[in-house]
């Protein structure tokens, strides 16, 4: 029984990482209507900036985090203005291609600057895990649960109840109509990228302590996050977190009780199965594409 519970806890901790990364993906999807494949690499660059501040410049942890988030805000905004804005009127496929290219460019540049060896990244809390009746759960996992919930809640409130949030959603749904309604869609687009970058940076600095930091560290999490987001329903924020958690637990149970080698095969097969039954994911609503 303790083994089962520990497997569940391990799965939940991993799932929390997937869910956190998935949040960034769905948030961008909601505000721009497209998938940002550069999300993981943006997170990686921001995390390396944090690493440079912490390890080389010896900036205190809290201040480093604030600086990283500020950097992310500017970084996302800059990427949008320089790369995505000219493509705003292009089909989504072209935009997605650009994010893929951007991911590779960021990865290559980061490798040149910081090298490809793994680095340790400081955990926000660290220390010994909580232990109870033979089970262990790290404090940082709990923190990640908390922060994910906080992000879901604040994004939900933002999208639902603020004018800016409504404007963002409107822009994603129909840019032309939004513009006619007087929404500065360029600014809206820029804002959603800035927010996406901040979300990615948050995910990066929280995930890196448990995976180690190297230019590819988010690629591995990113695939799982993507699967989790699809599973939960790409259009739903709580769905993304739930999908991530579900995938984490599933992997852990498969590894614990079926086969360690087939962990991913089993998990992804099950996801496919779920999607056959519910193509819009666990919490998503059927897409109504307006033409």
């Amino acid at each position: 029984m303790a083994i089962l519970l520990q497997n569940l806890l391990g799965g939940l901790s991993a799932g929390a990482l997937y869910g956190l990364a998935a949040l960034g993906l769905t948030a961008v999807f909601q505000t721009t209507g497209m998938v940002n494949f550069a999300q993981g690499d943006m997170a990686m660059v921001c995390t390396f900036v944090g690493f440079t501040l912490l390890s080389y410049m010896k900036v205190p942890y809290g201040l480093s985090l604030l600086l990283v988030l500020a950097f992310a805000l500017g970084f996302g905004s800059l990427l949008e203005r320089g790369l995505m804005r000219p493509l705003m009127r292009q089909p989504h496929v072209s935009q997605i291609m650009v994010t893929l290219g951007l991911a590779m460019i960021l990865n290559g540049i980061a490798g040149q600057i910081w090298g490809f060896e793994p680095h340790a990244f400081k955990a926000p809390l660290g220390g010994d895990p909580y232990r109870f009746v033979g089970l262990a759960l790290s404090k940082d996992s709990l923190l990640i649960f908390g922060i994910s919930a906080l992000i879901v809640l604040s994004l939900f409130l933002f999208f639902k109840f603020t004018l800016a949030g409504t404007a963002l959603r409107a822009t994603a749904q129909n840019a032309t109509a939004a513009k006619l309604m007087g929404i500065p869609i360029g600014m809206a687009f820029n804002m959603s990228w800035a927010v996406a970058a901040v979300l990615s940076a948050t995910a990066g600095v929280l995930i890196a302590p448990s995976t180690t930091l190297d230019p590819n560290f988010m690629a591995e999490v990113g695939i799982k996050a993507f699967a989790g987001a699809i599973l939960g329903g790409f259009s739903s924020l709580p769905g993304a977190v739930l999908g991530g958690l579900f995938l984490g637990v599933l992997e852990s149970l498969v590894a614990g009780y079926i086969s360690t080698e087939l962990k991913s095969v089993f998990s992804f097969s099950l996801i496919l199965l779920v999607l056959v039954v519910r193509p819009y994911g666990l919490l998503g609503s059927p897409a109504r594409k307006k033409v």
């Binding site: 997937y18 490798g111 793994p118 680095h119 340790a120 262990a136 190297d214 590819n216």
Partner: protein, 404 residues
Amino acid sequence: MKWRSGFGICASVLALSLLLTACGGGATPASSPGPAGAKSTAPGVSDKEIVIGTFGPLTGPAAGWGDTLRGLAAYADFINEQGGVNGRKLRVIIEDDQYQPSKTVGAVKKMVEQDKVFALVNVIGTSNLTAVQDYLVQNKVPVILYSTGSRKFQEPINPYFFAGLMPYEDEAKVLMRFGNDTLKVKKYAVFYQNDDFGKGGLGGAKEAVAKIPGAQIVAEVAYNPADVDVSAYALKMKEAGAEAVLIWGTVKHGALVIKEAKKIGFQPKWLLSGVTAGFQLAELTDGAGEGAYTVASTATLTDTENVVVKEYLANQAKYLKNGPNSTQLGGWSAGRIFVEALKRAGPEPTREQLIKAMETLKDYQGLALVNYSDKDHIGTRKAFVRQLQGNTYVKVTDLIDGSY
């Protein structure tokens, strides 16, 4: 109609290539050892220089290993400054394959057919070498010291290939021998990467268990390089009651599993492959890796009494922009052994003479004592155990034979 024109093209291409082959054959005489005193006609050997080639990742995710190529090139510069080998300078062609076997194929064909390299020296990667193995054998290109511990290239013995690293299997067997004799451990778990490298470690552990009475493997746990979460793996090994865990994986996954084990209160003896025991391990495990054991067949930077280490450290700054590091040292050492064989191959070396000369190396002092013969191209089968103490790996045993 289509078939006929296709046949026509095929036929003319065939005819053309036959013609070219015939011309080529006429232009370059066979490179068999000529009578004593005759000029060498081996590919890549001219009056002034000997061209050798190497491949490995200089860019991409595995770029860190590229330093071993730079180490080799630096040794060539060092030798050239002293006049080269028997009056000929060494020219090293370096091809960056980004650790992708598909790129290795193109790079090797270019080196063999265009650059006409005499031999390949200190090449990197199991999959990469596998991709060009048949081609190199067909073209009789000697591969002097390939930098992988995969034993498969010598099963059966490959007459043109010489291993540069101790086989992973033998490394695992050294650790198991140490675990049994010194640590008195009987129950082992193997945590391994799901590829040739990881399976080499697992295979070695199984061979060891067959030879060591009472020893058993209680858990075989494979992971994939893309795995983010290792908690289920650590739990599995704890549950199986392992007293020692052999880790055959990357530094990163080794560190992750050691950290996770500490978290769930699982404290076995750690026995790490040489690859896993990177210099970052102490930092990545946040101290949880303290006391872990690893296997090393060769001297490293801290063994300053070793002749190769001494030579490398004394000249490193002059020939290399970065470093010193153990990866460069490996390349330097490979170059040194190649040059020793080249000297022994005589004033007019051919590929056959180079291979024969390699087979005369007996207890030759490199980073380890290396031994090759016409029956065995593996070179190194003994290693000692080091222990992670603080930030360095300290030698804690004498040489242990891993070929049992």
